[in-house]
Assembly symmetry: D2
Homo-oligomer: 132 residues x 4
């Protein structure tokens, strides 16, 4: 991932654990893309009406993961209160989205994949938060 | 604002207080634009080096306000845990950004305006949260 | 709008016509919020299946308007090629979204409002482009 | 990448070449993260004043890549005019950002990495556009 390379050349990196940080950024990136893709696949399903809550939570989760990615990528003059709140909200949102996607995992493979991605992102957020 | 009009025609609006919700969405919109603009004005200042923390927090605040705007605009199948976490993070981030912008308010009018906008957004988030 | 205030205090504003620029930024802001709201209202309609193309274009249009808003708000060191391409793409996307929303305007008031907002944003983009 | 997996399970995928599409989405994802990271590293450099145009173009490029990523991920009911305009704007913006980052590549490793990522994204956009 390019971000690991750039963080390695940053003139004033933050004091956060580099491996946990990069993993969390990477999972936010995967999760935003996965949720955008799952919300779109939901729309195209014949039974889209039963997936409305899944679609909505995927859209929310993509927005929150994108914001969290950006807040975590930035190293300059970090505000720990902002980092903590953002990362916690990301964990909350990923768990809510994973819970909903899992309900449809046996019928829709995109929901199964997306639930896994959301769980991985929530775990990465929690592991990073444990170091704050 | 167009959003108030559309919310008024939504087939299944959420149970949140409409006036507080619309005010909070509107403040998130104002604050994201204000922070994007203040971060950019910071870059162009001769003393940009002293505004680096302001620039960074404005970029974070714009990202968080955009995500919060979207989560709050959506009415369909709301998840209260996600709404609460997102709105709280928005309040935290707006307060941190306002605190920093205020330090430069006497030298930079864009920081003074942006600090006011961030305070108004934080207050709108807190007023909405009080109804959850 | 806060952005007009901040642009008025920017140390190095771009040479673009201020009134047309502020109007275009404002319409991008309105259109992103309107499209996010219309996409969500679509999801909640009993006849959501017939609105799938509308939902998808509203999601695209919101993304493009948000990017255009940010590119236009920034005044420092503008790249005219980037500004032109971004604003043209915004006009194209807003027209496509308006065309689709209009098809549903007689049945869904949120589509009627959203189509109007998209048309206004496309017109603001075209008026700004005429000055480049 | 998770998106390739989800696109493989999409009930109604678009007719675009899958490999070129996935590569373009992947490069937009890399480029948005790289540009967000490079803009932030710029802020922390002692010579940040000479990097202002780089910072600004990186912020623009991140916004445009995020919008393009989302438009390309969505498969349902694609509008080719919107896809073409968005992907072209992404190529234009990535080239402008790469041109600027390259000027600083010998002094700042993050600019060298970011320029490469922008070039790769512009090439992926052009290769995808050639199939439209």
């Amino acid at each position: 991932m390019t971000v690991r390379g750039i963080l390695g050349t940053h003139p004033r990196p933050s004091a956060l654990d580099r491996d946990l940080l990069v993993r969390c950024i990477d999972e936010c990136i995967e999760c935003a893309a996965s949720c955008t893709s799952c919300a779109d696949a939901d729309l195209a399903e014949p039974g889209a009406q039963e997936l409305v809550r899944c679609t909505r939570l995927c859209l929310d989760c993509a927005d929150v993961c994108d914001a969290t990615r950006n807040v975590l990528i930035r190293q300059t003059e970090p505000d720990l209160g902002v980092l903590r709140a953002t990362t916690e909200t990301c964990a909350v949102t990923c768990r809510a989205c994973a819970d909903e996607c899992e309900k449809h995992a046996s019928h829709h493979e995109h929901c199964r994949i997306c639930a896994e991605t959301c769980r991985a992102c929530a775990a990465a957020c929690e592991d990073l938060l444990a170091t704050f």
